[in-house]
Amino acid sequence: MGAALGALLLFALRGRLCSAGRVPSEDALLSDTPTRPKPTPASPPPRRSTNPGKGFPAAALDPAEESGLTPREIAERRLERARRTLDGYLQATRYPPVSRPLSERPDLQNARSVPTATQPLARADGKLTDAKVTLSQDRFFLVGDEAARLTVSCTTSEGPATCEVRRAEARVPPTMPQAGTIPPAPIRFYDDGRDGDPEAGDGAPTALFAPAREGFGGYHGPIGVELLLHVDGEDGTARFEVVYTPAAPARFTGVVREALEEGSLCMYVQMAIDKPGRYVLHARADDADGKGFAFLEFNEELGAGSQEAKMCLFGKLVRDEHVRSPFTLRDVEGFLLKEDAYPDRELVPALVGNVHTTKSYADSQFSDAEWQSEEKKRHVDEFTKDVAEAEKDLEELEGGGSK
């Protein structure tokens, strides 16, 4: 009983027993990794797979020797993998890559989605803290006069704790060439229910950071907002990051025209393009009940001037989702992609919210045909060949009477 309690205590304190250190390279980790036992409740045995356990030699062995499987088992698994590849691809390509069920995008249901980041409070001496910091922001990319809402909340092992922001500063990262020329800017965080703070006195301060107003107006690239925090008696830092575009390369005009084409409903989103190039756009569509059902993509070259980005609700997707029109196009966002560069994009100001509501259409006006293309045919032909070869290999083994 004492040993069990001791193990439980050790496990609960495992964070405190470890030294966080600075960001290690994988090379450094190879030399610095301490050999510290990790007390956990007993784990079940390793999951059976084609892979043996740790300490596997790097010698050139054949698959049978490597995996411990018989040739027949290997042939069966290869056939299974080949079938899975073909079936998976066929399933995935019922619709084109640019017109997908919204359910496939759990992390992109709305525009400007950014996951929260929770991490220990970073102490100057590198020691691990009991305090954890959660950073939430309403956007990662911003353009022009836009502002990002940055909220920090804190916990300790005893539960929610007050985050006291003692200092916050926005600065260009040292890796950027402009780091020495653009001075850092102080940023105020508030917990008074004003200035962007959603709830007064909740211990989670918020700031509205607008780069253009803080001296970053002509700068294109990442900006870090570093906080010095005091949490339940501990001091440390945390950092937000955004990527800023000073001047938009294009804008959505808000004009959208629609056309039923070959059984799919296509929406032509009008843009005023200052900088020609490859534009990558995303949008969502809701059904008549306001339920999101489609995720649309545009990834094509556009010239300067007035242009249209075509995004289609693929007919079979509409039919399979069993949705009723009129449909609403919403949350249209995107950027000019800059190949082989960093930053790799110039942001177009998003149209957040409802952008266009279509006319009503009968279900029968949408085609139930699967997507076809040269790309799809090429893949299906190859994957079908792989299945045939794998079947033949297995038949030959079975015909040879292998065990």
Partner: protein
């Protein structure tokens, strides 16, 4: 019918034979491309497809016609991604097909390439690279690349909290991309052009368990290596103090956080046997991926 003189006939046969041996990479061929992760020593040779120094001995079996896709290992994904696209153009166009293996930040590299360039027009190339890693063109083009599937060893597609904690003053450009918010917003992780990503998630991590949530392999946590669509502390079944369990396959975590589309977990390290490091001998989580390639990439 024109009858060739004997000398011409002999020359034609000799030419055909020579062409066959000289262009041994140019026919319908399957390749296995290995895309490495962060490499602060920048020791690999970009454009040299025979340099497997990041992984282990080059004589080791690791899939059919294996090629090492090297990049500088410290630069921004967007800056270095051309190395990956060059390799894909070289070996995965025309009648040639590829299996892809990626480690750590290599997950970001292949994910970025597929999401942003996977539907673009590519030149069909001849699988005969020059010193710069680019292959010659054939005059044909196609949409995207010929990829069968992708194996990912401890993928950092979702970033790592170690990068979040990083010291800016000493961080390299790639560390910025490896922050969880940066990695997850860099591209649409669900856009794989219908190609499946098989995720191999290691759990032999101890030193950074206070920083990395849930199970980790000492550099990357399960939320990333398991292809989960949000951050969180995900663990093996039976572990304590976690947000949820990382399930095998495409099943969401036990607390209902979905995986990215076309991502399936092939290995959940319930025995905590695999750490992050290849250690120059195809070790760690790279080991099971290598075995998977040997078994299936033919």
């Amino acid at each position: 019918m024109r009858i060739m003189p004997r000398a011409t006939h002999l020359f034609a046969a000799l030419f055909a034979t020579t062409a066959l041996f000289a262009a041994s990479d140019a026919g319908a061929t399957n390749y296995t491309l290995w895309i490495h992760g962060r490499n602060t020593s920048q020791s690999t040779k970009p454009g040299v497809y025979t340099d497997f120094s990041y992984w282990g001995p080059s004589a080791t079996s690791a899939g059919v016609n294996k090629k090492a896709v090297n990049w500088n290992g410290v630069g921004h994904i967007s800056d270095q991604n051309y190395r990956v696209r060059d390799a894909l153009d070289c070996y995965c166009t025309g009648s040639n097909w590829c299996y892809i293996a990626a480690h750590s930040a290599g997950d970001l590299q292949i994910g970025y390439a597929l999401a942003l360039y996977g539907g673009t027009t590519r030149s069909v190339r001849n699988a005969s690279p020059g010193a710069d890693g680019k292959c010659g063109t054939t005059g044909s083009t196609q949409t995207g690349w010929n990829i069968k599937w992708v194996d990912v060893a401890s993928g950092a597609g979702g970033g790592s909290e170690l990068a979040n904690m990083g010291d800016w003053a000493v961080g390299d450009a790639l560390t910025t991309d490896l922050k969880t918010s940066n990695a997850r917003t860099l591209y649409d992780h669900n856009q794989t052009r219908g190609i499946w990503f098989y995720m191999f998630a290691g759990a032999k991590g101890t030193a950074y368990s206070g920083t990395l949530p849930g199970q980790d392999d000492e550099a990357v946590a399960y939320h990333s290596t398991g292809g989960v669509s949000n951050t969180g502390g995900f663990c093996n079944a039976g572990d304590w103090f976690c947000d949820g369990t990382l399930n095998a396959g495409t099943t969401a975590t036990s607390n209902n956080v979905a995986k990215w589309a076309y991502h399936t977990v092939e290995l959940v390290d319930t025995g905590e046997a695999y750490n992050h490091y290849s250690s120059g001998s195809w070790a760690g989580i790279v080991g099971p991926v290598r075995t998977d390639m040997v078994t299936y990439a033919k």
